[in-house]
Each structure stands twice: as structure tokens, then as C-alpha cells.
Symmetry: C2
Subunit: 422 residues, 2 copies
């Protein structure tokens, strides 16, 4: 999704920042996202994504879409309500951790509320699949998912309702799946890099999904809830089923000393083998006219969780430091004292040049309060217009991640900022 060029002044936003926050909010990203007015908790594990947070989400999901399209995946939208019968068929109705279940008041109809969509996509692809010529095929969606977590925590990092991109691929054989699986790995690393996270890939077991292997993508952070074991080169998930992994043991692959660190899982990919092809009787006809079962992979990224992970690794003691690629706006524009006329002009010029700007036009706030909110909200660039800078026909410019300020001449301002936000 291309970013929408929207006018926005702070006084028009229906949300506001807050200085304090409840003691029960432990993780840094959760604190900053609530204080900055990005998310609002409705109940345990359930959030509204507010206008500033929603702009971040759109940019993340746009990034994901572009990468999925590049690897030939087709976008669909599957339902959240799943027929119970399908989950019986895959033997997950009674075995899937945190599956929400509900009933219709009409007839004897029961639903699972989708935490993942193998039960929908496999019969669907099977319906249209006939020949080896139809393979490989890859299908994805971006959508709200549901999981009845025992202890929702860390804000939007582990919620009961969350946004997710899930993709499923179907192949003639294991070799073709492996090729695509490696493509997706690269694609995921691109996505996380664009979002300001250097993700590490860990090996893990297949979990509820499959007895085969899986890989997890980890953002290394103290606020994470996953324990991983790492040496200089290799990374292992806690559940990787490689024995003897603990602090100071030796890496089974490169013999370096292992350390443990907590991390945030931001993506995972699974080799599903023929598990669901068998469950749902899916076949194709191969070159010789024989009936064969496709092998499959599944690939997830938690897009709302990613908001939390980005903040967790991009902040300082004053607030968030958004990477340009996912910042809700690029420029935080402040006009001090009697500079409204000049600041309005700058705002207009930015809008006309498609520079995403949040204009702090509040009349009842001090300069200090505006600076604090600018740091808290964490847009990449701050521009301050004051009587003092205007005497020099200029404005003050500061990057969020730098301490230095710089004067920029008014006449060069728009062109300079157009270059900065590129």
C-alpha cells in the first residue's frame, strides 16, 4: 500500500501523548507505544491501533506485500471463522494451543477462530489443483488472527488478537520446496532490514504444525520473551531439540562458546512436508500421469508484533527512534512563539511536495513539552521555527538519532528535506 499523503496537525489528532503510565506495563516498547499514543489496550492482550500506530502498520504491511509479490505469491483474504470439521480433519481441534472456539446460535454449527489457515488454504488450493503444470503455487493474506494466550504480555508483542501475514506454498517435490524456502528466508531478511531490524535466523522444531523442522526469525532484545542460544555464527531456538544447549556449552556446529539471550520472534517458516496434503487429500497428476501429493511450506510474519519489536530495538531514554521506512510521518514540525505565519507556510510547502509532516500546532503547550513529545513520538526529523531562527532566515533541523542541530536556510528547506526523507 502506497502511503497516503494526509494533512495532519497535532490538534487534529484525536489521541494525545501521556507522561505517565501504569506500573503494570513492563516492556519498553509497550510503555513507549502507549505513552506516544500509538496503541490503546482494551483488555488483556487486546489492542486498538491508533492513527499514528496504524500508519506504521500500513507501512510495514506495504513492505511485506511488495516482498511477497516479488516472490510470486498471490494475495487472498480467508475468513477468521473456520468450520470445526476442518480442524477435526487435521486433528488440531483438540490439540492446538489457544484455539478459540465458538458456536452459532442457528443449527449445530461450531467454528474455530483462525490462529493459522492451513485448514482453509489446503482444501482451497486442492480444489483448483490438477496437474504438475499448476505447481509451484504460493498464496498469502494479511489479516487479524486469534490465539487464546494464557498470559498475554509485552503489549502488542504477545496479544490474543494480532495482525499477521501468513503464506502457504505448494510444490511438486521436496527439492522445489527447499528452493522456495530459501527464497522466502532472503525475502524475510529484506523485510526486517527495511523495518530497522537485523534479524537472526534460529533453527527450531516444527511445533504444533509439523514434525519437520522450522526456522524462526529473531530480533535480539532484552525485552524479548524467547530464549535463544547463540555463538558468534549460529543461533538456536530454545526448543531446537539440539541437546546440551546451555550457557557456556560449545556450539555443535562451529565449537564456539554458547551464550543465551532473550529475543523477540518476529517471523517463522515451516517445512510442512505432506502433513496437510494428506489430511485434506490433495493430489496433482505428474508428468507420467501418476497421482502425487504436493509438499508444502508455511511462512508467517506478525505485522502488529513487528511494531513492538521495531520500537524495542529502536529507542533511547527519551522515546522511539523510527526508521524512515516505517515512521508514521517523516518530519515533526514545531513553531515557537510568534512564528505561526512562517510555520504554516513551511507546512503547506511540505504538503505540496508530498513530505509527510506532523505539525505540532498546539497553542497551549510550552517549547519543552513540544520537544519532549517530538522525542517520544520519534519521527526521523525535527524542524523548529523560532523568532531567533527566523532572524537568520532559517529554521533549526535535527535528526532524531543525532544530538546535533543545524540551521537550514528557509529558501533551501523543502529541497533539503525532500532529499533527507528519500
Amino acid at each position: 500500500m502506497e502511503n497516503k499523503k494526509i494533512k495532519m496537525k497535532t490538534t487534529q489528532l484525536f489521541t494525545a501523548t501521556s507522561k505517565t503510565i501504569g506500573d503494570e506495563i513492563k516492556s519498553k516498547s509497550h510503555q513507549l507505544l502507549v505513552r506516544g499514543g500509538f496503541i490503546n489496550q482494551e483488555m488483556a492482550g487486546i489492542y486498538t491501533i491508533l492513527p499514528l500506530g496504524f500508519k506504521v502498520l500500513l507501512k510495514i504491511e506495504d513492505t511485506v506485500r511488495k516482498e511477497m509479490d516479488l516472490i510470486g505469491a498471490q494475495e487472498v483474504l480467508m475468513p477468521a471463522l473456520h468450520p470445526k470439521e476442518r480442524w477435526i480433519q487435521s486433528e488440531r481441534w483438540d490439540n492446538f494451543d489457544g484455539l478459540f472456539k465458538l458456536k452459532s446460535q442457528w443449527g449445530n454449527v461450531e467454528y474455530a477462530l483462525g490462529p493459522t489457515h492451513e485448514e482453509i488454504i489446503f482444501p482451497l488450493v486442492g480444489k483448483f489443483l490438477s496437474s504438475y503444470k499448476d505447481l509451484p503455487v504460493s498464496v498469502y493474506q494479511i489479516q487479524s488472527k486469534f490465539r487464546d494466550e494464557k498470559r498475554p504480555k509485552s503489549g502488542i508483542i504477545r496479544g490474543r488478537e494480532f495482525r499477521m501475514k501468513d503464506m502457504y506454498s505448494f510444490h511438486e517435490n521436496q527439492e522445489d520446496l527447499s528452493l522456495y524456502y530459501e527464497k522466502v528466508k532472503k525475502s524475510y531478511l529484506n523485510i526486517f532490514k527495511t523495518c530497522g531490524i537485523q534479524a537472526k535466523i534460529t533453527k527450531a522444531s516444527g511445533g504444533t504444525f509439523t514434525k519437520k523442522y522450522s526456522h524462526e526469525f529473531m530480533a535480539i532484545s532484552d525485552a524479548g520473551e524467547d530464549l535463544i542460544f547463540a555463538c558468534e555464527k549460529c543461533f538456536y531456538a530454545e526448543n531446537s531439540e539440539i541437546s546440551n544447549l546451555k550457557e557456556n556449552s560449545l556450539c555443535p556446529e562451529c565449537k564456539n562458546k554458547i551464550i543465551s539471550c532473550k529475543a523477540i520472534e518476529i517471523g517463522n517458516i515451516f517445512d510442512l512436508g505432506q502433513k496437510f496434503s494428506k489430511d485434506f487429500d490433495i493430489f496433482y497428476t505428474d508428468k507420467n500421469g501418476d497421482k502425487k501429493m504436493p509438499v508444502s511450506g508455511c511462512y508467517g510474519i506478525g505485522t502488529s508484533r513487528l511494531i513492538g519489536a521495531i520500537v524495542e530495538v529502536n529507542n533511547d531514554d527519551k522515546g522511539i527512534i523510527w526508521p524512515k521506512s516505517v515512521a508514521p510521518f517523516q518530519v515533526y514540525l514545531i513553531g515557537l512563539n510568534k512564528t505561526k505565519k512562517e510555520t504554516d507556510k513551511i507546512y503547506q510547502s511540505f504538503l505540496e511536495n508530498n513530505i509527510e509532516v506532523l505539525y505540532d500546532d498546539r497553542q497551549d503547550k510550552t517549547a519543552g513539552e513540544k520537544f519532549a513529545d517530538s522525542d517520544l513520538i520519534g519521527l526521523p526529523f525535527r524542524i523548529v521555527v523560532s523568532e531567533k531562527t527566523l532572524e537568520k532566515q532559517s529554521v533549526e533541523f535535527k535528526k532524531r538519532k543525532s544530538k546535533q542541530t543545524e540551521l537550514i536556510a528557509l529558501k533551501n528547506l523543502t529541497e533539503r528535506i525532500k532529499n533527507e526523507v528519500k
Copy 2:
């Protein structure tokens, strides 16, 4: 959302058209959307939106977003899981038709699955609302909604899970609400017009939401499930609570003869008064420092239902006739016999010029089958490349809604099509 410029050949689509369909599918739009490969029914009232349908949905929702932004509304994403307590507070837990309810397996937590979001948005806006200076404010989202319909029918026109844009506005007084309410009316008519529907506004009662009035936006169609009464000028919903409305009675406003017709409701707007402000104790301080309650409106458009309504009023006996604004692609490109090299060139040229093209590159289908699929899928323009047209250095061009074909010289083709799709 800007449309994505994606390469697409028919052989790459994992879906396919079908010639026949079950007898149980009655409505024309449902038949065409299933046969064309736009939607797939998973169970009663529950659908997957397939790649072609998803492109239509994105275009509809993009149209909606642009119009909502123009009237100053801010986009958020609220959860589908709602705390039971909020629905108790609004006295709708036991009274709302078709409310899905579910329980967490942890603690004593119950949820409603959101069919509408007053219970979330009112406490949320109330949390940030302080002064009259904060008003008016308007907030919207586009999202999946849930309603336990007794008899889901007409495909995606009445489902148990559906996409919806819902917006809520908050005002100092009734006058300000009325001004905004009229703005939204115009905005809605723009949206429907863009989508190829001349919507009629009918007056109706407030329903479950409020004892105040409401307006419904109707697409006039035999396949609709709503009965409306109309004369030449005025339109009334069946439940408008205006007495004596029946076939051949006189219109209470302009005294013309009334006829009845079935119609599809594609949008509705409600004057909520202070109903939910009272339920959730929402106040602002007015100019004199007095505490006041805001008045509100709510405004819905069923975006997935709209796909059905558009098809219902834009089709012929061969298939769908998509309006350009929401067509999944603009051009259906067919290459017959030994024209692959030339047709590939045209396809490349279209891609480079951002012309949305679906290239029917199937080798195992007859010309007749390709023509039939082109008509069924219903893209605005069809281009046929054959050995015969190539002898004249040209291709055959046809508009879906016209019977006439035309030869266009190869050298002019891309420029001509760029103009056609504008």
C-alpha cells in the same frame, strides 16, 4: 491503497473459472462471482476472497479511504474481540441480533465478536476528549465484522463474516452533527458512483442502534433482499415507520404513486444522538466551562457486500461488466494460434506502462473458451491477437460493454490503451 502493478498470466493464477455451478446458488452476482473465480464459499455465509476478488476489494476500500480522508476522518484498527462488560454497559449483550459470543479458556473472560464498534470507540474517544476544542472528531476503520445471521444468503451480500468500513463522529451539538451527516451522505454517493452504482437514499428507523432516525443507501436490483417503497422522487425503507406505505398508495411527501421494489442495502448512516455518550459517560467542557455530552453519528459501508452489489447491477447474460474503477485488471489479453511472440511483446509493453493486464496465456484452451472466460471475468477491455490481425499489423479491440470490435494498429496500441484505461 494505490493499485499494485503486478504481472499476471492466467496460468499463474491458482484459481480457475467454472462453467457450471450448484443449483442452490440463486442470485446472479453469487453465480458470476463463484464461476469467475472471485470468491469461494467455505461454509454457509463464510467466504474466501480469491486473488481476482481481492483486487476488486482493495480498489473499493481504496476508494472508501480516499473519501473518508477528504472529510477529515482518522483511520484506526479496533479489535474484533470485545469485552463482554462493554456490551453489558450499552445494554446490547442480550439484545443485539446475531451477536457472536465466546469465552477464553483462561479466567472468567467473555467476548463479543464485533458486528459494530460503538462499545470500543466511545470509551476510546472519551479517554482523550477534554475540551470543545477537541471536537468535532471523526474516526473510522476498515475491517472484518461478524454477525450470526439466521439465514446467510446471496453469497457475499449477506454473510456471517464480512468486510466493513465503519466510522463514528463526535460533535458539540446536533447542528454540527447534522452538517457532518450531510457531508457523509455526499461522500457516500461519490463512493457508490465511483463503484458503478447509482445509489438511492431511503429513510429508515434507527434499528438496534438508536431510537433516532437513519438513512440507508440502496442499490436498486431485483436480487436485493430489502423491500423499499419509492415514487419518482422519494425512497423509503420498509421499516421507515411511515404508515400506509404499500404498492399504489400515495407518497406522503410528493403525493406521487408509490411502487415497491427489492433492493440491496450497501451503506447506512445513523444519528446516534447521545445514546452511547450516556452509556459510557463521555463528556467535554464547553466554552463556558460546563460539562457537556457530545452527540454522535455512525456510518457504515459493507465493502465486501459492495462487490456483490456491483456485480448485481453490472452484468449481462455472458458475465460480469466491471466498472473501470474497481476492475481487478483493465485489459484481458488473448493471443490465438501462433502469435505468442507478438502477444508477449504487447504484454511486456503494457506492464512497462503500468497498464493492468491479465494475459490469457493458456495453451490448452480454444479461442471460444478464452472468449467466454473474458466475458465471464468481465474486464473493461479485451484485446485479441491473431495471425489474421497481425497480417494487418494490428490487434482486435473490444469494450466489454459494447458488441463492436475495432482493429488497432500495433504501433498505436499502448498509447491508445493508456488513454482508454484513464
